[in-house]
Each structure stands twice: as C-alpha cells, then as structure tokens.
Amino acid sequence: MEIQQYNFIFLYQETAALTKRLFIQLKRRPSTFFAGILQPIIWLFLFGALFANAPKDFLPGVDSYGNFLGAGLIVFTAFSGALNSGLPLMFDREFGFLNRLLVAPLASRLSIVLSSFFYITILSFVQSLAIMFISFLLGYGFPNIYGLGVVFATLILLVLFVTSISLCLAFVLPGHIELIALIFVVNLPLLFASTALAPISFMPSWLGWLASFNPLTFAIEPIRIAYSSNFNLDLIALNAPYGDLTCRNCISLLFLLTILSLVIIRPLLNKKLT
C-alpha cells in the first residue's frame, strides 16, 4: 500500500463506499447470513441433545454440554465468515470489477482490505449476538459486561487474523473454485482439531498438542471463560500439554498471531495492489 499524501477524508469516503457495497449485497442476498446463524444453532441443539444424558460432571466447570459448546460455535461462526471473506474479492477479480477499483485514484488501496474487515467484523458480531441470545433462551447463560468485552475483543482479533489470510488467498489462488475448495478443506478439520467440541483432556495426546496450537482454541477458551460468573482475565483457560494458559495468555497469543499474519501478508498485498 503506497503510503502517500494520505488523505483521511478520502480514505474514509472510499472505505465507506466499499463497505456499503458489501452490505447492499448482503441485504439483497441474505441467505448466507442467515445460514451462518442457523447452522450453529442447529448444532447447538443437536449436540446438546446428543450429550444430554452424559454424566453430570463429565465436563469441568460447566453444567451441560450445550453450555460448553456455545463458545466453540460462536468462534466457529466468526471463523467461517472470515474465512469466506476472500470470496467477494475473488469474484471481483474474476469478473474484472477489481479493475474498476484499480484504475480509481484511491487514497490507499488499504481501503479494499479495510472494508472487508469492517464488513466481516460487524457481520460476525451480529451473528454471534444472535447465537448468544438463542443459547441464553436455551438456558445456557449470558456473559456479564466484562465477559462481553472479552468476547468481542477476541472475535475482532480472530476475524482480523483470518480475514487477512483469506484476502491474501483470494489474490494468490487462480480462481474461486480453488478458494472454495481450500475453505472446504480447512474449515471443519480446524474446528475438530480445536477445543470447540471437547476439552483437551478428552483428546489423545497428539490431538491435544494440535488443539493447543490451534488459533481457534485461543479464541474459544477466553470466550468460554467469559461465560463464568467469577470471570477475570487471569483465570486458567487452557490446560495445554506445554503448560497452563490464562485467558490473558490466550488473547495475547491471538494478538501476536494477528500481527504476524498482517506483517507476512503485507508485501503480497502491496505487490498485488500497486
């Protein structure tokens, strides 16, 4: 991104226009948005039923499986949304609409990235709130105000991390077929290799190791803790094979990963967007 006579009013105007376009598209084609809410709720319902008769204290710290699962599903929803964020960009590349943006005198082409990020963040907030609200109705509780803060901070980091990777892929891969295939391959395995569905103590040691390096885990655990009534940032969130991580540790790790990914993809976006 050429940093040149930055004009923030211009940057704001073009980013707003790009974001608005994404929301108009959403408004006129809302099915994926609703599917994104519906799917986790169906899961919540089915998985909750599947383990309804499990022994009372089979999971540490929570009183039902549905309670345990909520955090995983919120993260999964945000993760899927962010993973898909490269698709509109890929279609713009394929249909030549991107050229319209590239011949325009954008203050910075960063606005193309920023708009996707805003869009996905707002989307995943709304979806998460819907899921949280419905799981509240199902009797799985609701975080307090600090807990909510942690939920959203964690989601922002995760969304930023995954969106930047997805946008990068949208520039690197040859077409939307390849992008969709990759999303398809990555999506569920990453979910299963995290602590979304089961705690590390349930896993064979190799999977436990895998799960405790999985960025999704770093997002899921703080959100899970955020639901507890005596929430604070120094509660142990994860019993990883390499040691215990507090809520704060998890969020810091996520933060580091996000910064790292931004640093790594920057040159590539620079190259593609000059």
Binding site: E2, Q4, N7, I9, F10, Q13, E14, A16, A17, K20, R21, I24, Q25, R28, R29, R93, E94, F95, G96, F97, L98, N99, R100, L101, L102, V103, A104, P105, L106, A107, P174, G175, K272, T274
Partner: protein, 338 residues
C-alpha cells in the same frame, strides 16, 4: 499541444508480442482513434495507458506526468471504460454511480448533480434504478461510460465502446462523445469499425500485430491514394496463378498503382486507379487482349480499410473474421487477472 506522449512502448505476454515499440502523440482536446482488428494490441495499449499493466519497455506521459512512476496522479486525470464491462449485478445503476463517485472522492453536493446530469445525457432515466444484472448490452455500456465520466476526466479512454450495440445506444454515445469533444475533453477510442473512426476521429492510428501501420488525419490518409479504389475479379473464384498474371498486366497500365491480391476474397485484385475516365476502358482493352474476361469490377472512394489492406494484404473485416475463435479469451482474462 501534445498532451499524451507514448514512446517506444512494448509489451509481451510470454511469447506473444502484443505491442512493438509504439510511438504516439495525442493532441489535447482531440478525438484520437485507434483502428485495428481483433488481436492488434488495442486493449493492451489502452490498459497500459490506464495504469492497469506496466509495459516491458518505453514511457507514457500524460500532462507530463509519467504513467508508470506516478499512477495515482494519472488515475485522477483519466476516465477508463474497459472493453469488458464489469458491473455489480446486484447494485442498481444509480448505486453503482454513487459507489464510483466515492472512489473518485467527489464531494456529496457535486455527486448528486453529476449523477443526474449523466443520467440525462445518456438517457438512462427509465432504468437507472433497476439492478445492473437486468441491463441489456447497450444499457451496460451507457452506465459504464457514465461511471467513467463522473469525475470529469481530462482524458477519456474508451475500448471498443460501441461493439455489438443497438443503434439507439450507439447514437447516444456518439452524440455524447461529440459534445465532450466540444467541451475540450481528450478522447481516445479504439475500434475495429471503420465508420466509427472515420466519423468521430480527428486523428487515427491504424495498428496491426502490435505495430503502427499508419497515422494521421482520416481524410489525409484516404487522399494519399489520390484515386479510386477498384476491386476487380476476372472470375468469381480465381486462383493465385491467374491473379498474378492479371497483376502483371495491370502493372503495365499507367495510372494504376498499389495492386494487392486479396486471397480471402476469391483472389480479387484491389488497386487504386487515377480519376481518369479513359482508364477503365484502357483496362478492359488490355485484359481482353490477354483473353481475360471481367467478372466484376467495383469502384469506390478509398476508405481507411484501404490503408489497412495496402499494408497487410487483408481487409480489416477479414482480419477480424480470421481472429474470431482463435483467441482463448478465458485463458487471457485469467492471465491478466490482477
């Protein structure tokens, strides 16, 4: 004054040399036509001007600003309407214009005014609030042109803007281009239609296979021939041998010049004949003497096509037909995807 200076411009796509050391100067406020068949290199040239691709060699300057070194400044100056129209199907035309206006940082008060004006100029009132996905080819062209004009560019670049258009849309576009020219806008327009360039352009370059064949004022280019274009056939479908023999005879006749055999039109003979009323009679006598009959003979004012034919031995239309289906446009668009 030369507003645009293109020097030594070359561009390869792997083994295809799309542009070969092109030199062009374009005067401010003129309508500059680029005429050439499919595959000549028109789009490559215009995309380079529009900062979308960087050349392998050469320089382009617009208002003395280097296109390669300062693309952002250039983007403010130019409006670019691509050959392939890419609209967002889901947006309405008005939403698209609004979006485009924001990309060009037009302020809110001017924005609505500009959009209204263009809607009127391009006669889009009836369908501007429909989604772009429902537009016909002509509507798409018009909205795309409007998008390119929103910020009142100093230089408007149009890549084959009227190909395949209905007559109404074409006339509206031609009308608007003439108005814009009167207002002093520099317009660069590529086409493979002779009439379009002939009607609109002040200056034309004819390009073929990445090279410039000729350039100048259309009337001058045509008058260069100093006579009429004659197309002669001694049989409906002749052959190379026979045509060569006829050519030898024609070459000896005074007042006949620039003889070309057009293989794709039954080896017809194309040449320029001085405007001399006895010449055709002389021709008939000479042919009869060598036992050739005349199957058909047509006489017309030279056109820009003759300039092309003279240089390539093919008419523009034949070159166009020849290329149709030869290019793998899918693959090309994949390769030029950014």
């Amino acid at each position: 004054m030369n507003q645009i200076k293109i020097q030594n411009l070359s561009k390869d796509y792997f083994d295809v040399k799309a542009l070969k050391k092109i030199n062009i100067n374009i005067t401010e406020g003129s309508l500059f036509g680029i005429l050439g068949p499919n595959g000549a290199g028109k789009t490559t040239l215009l995309r380079t001007l529009a900062t979308l691709i960087s050349p392998d060699e050469g320089t382009i300057k617009i208002n003395n600003i280097d296109v390669i070194k300062e693309p952002r400044k250039i983007r403010e100056l130019i409006g670019y309407v691509a050959q392939e129209i890419a609209l967002d199907k889901i947006l309405t035309g008005r939403e698209l214009l609004d979006f485009q206006a924001d990309l060009y940082h037009i302020d809110q008060s001017n924005k609505l005014e500009r959009i209204e004006l263009l809607i009127n100029q391009l006669d889009m009132q009836n369908w501007i609030d429909r989604k772009c996905g429902t537009y016909s080819g002509g509507m798409k062209r018009r909205i795309d042109l409007a998008a390119g004009l929103l910020h009142l560019p100093k230089v408007l670049i149009l890549d084959e803007p009227t190909v395949g258009l209905d007559i109404e849309s074409r006339n509206i576009i031609w009308g608007l281009l003439n108005d814009l020219k009167k207002d002093g806008m520099t317009i660069i327009l590529s086409s493979h239609y002779l009439d379009e360039i002939d009607k609109l352009a002040d200056t034309v370059v004819i390009i073929n296979d990445g090279k410039i064949i000729d350039q100048g004022n259309p009337t001058q280019l045509k008058n260069k021939f100093g006579g009429d274009r004659i197309i002669l056939k001694v049989r409906e479908f002749s052959d190379s041998l026979e045509s060569e023999k006829v050519k030898k005879i024609l070459e000896k006749i005074d007042g006949i010049s620039q003889i070309v055999i057009n293989a794709s039109q039954g080896y017809s003979l194309n040449f320029i004949a001085d405007r001399d009323k006895d010449l055709i009679t002389k021709l008939k006598v000479e042919l009869a003497f060598s036992k050739f009959k005349i199957f058909s003979l047509s006489q017309s004012q030279p056109s820009l096509d003759d300039v092309y034919l003279q240089a390539t031995g093919k008419t523009l239309q034949d070159a166009e037909l020849y290329m149709t289906g030869k290019r793998d446009l899918k693959k090309e668009s994949k390769q030029s995807m950014r």
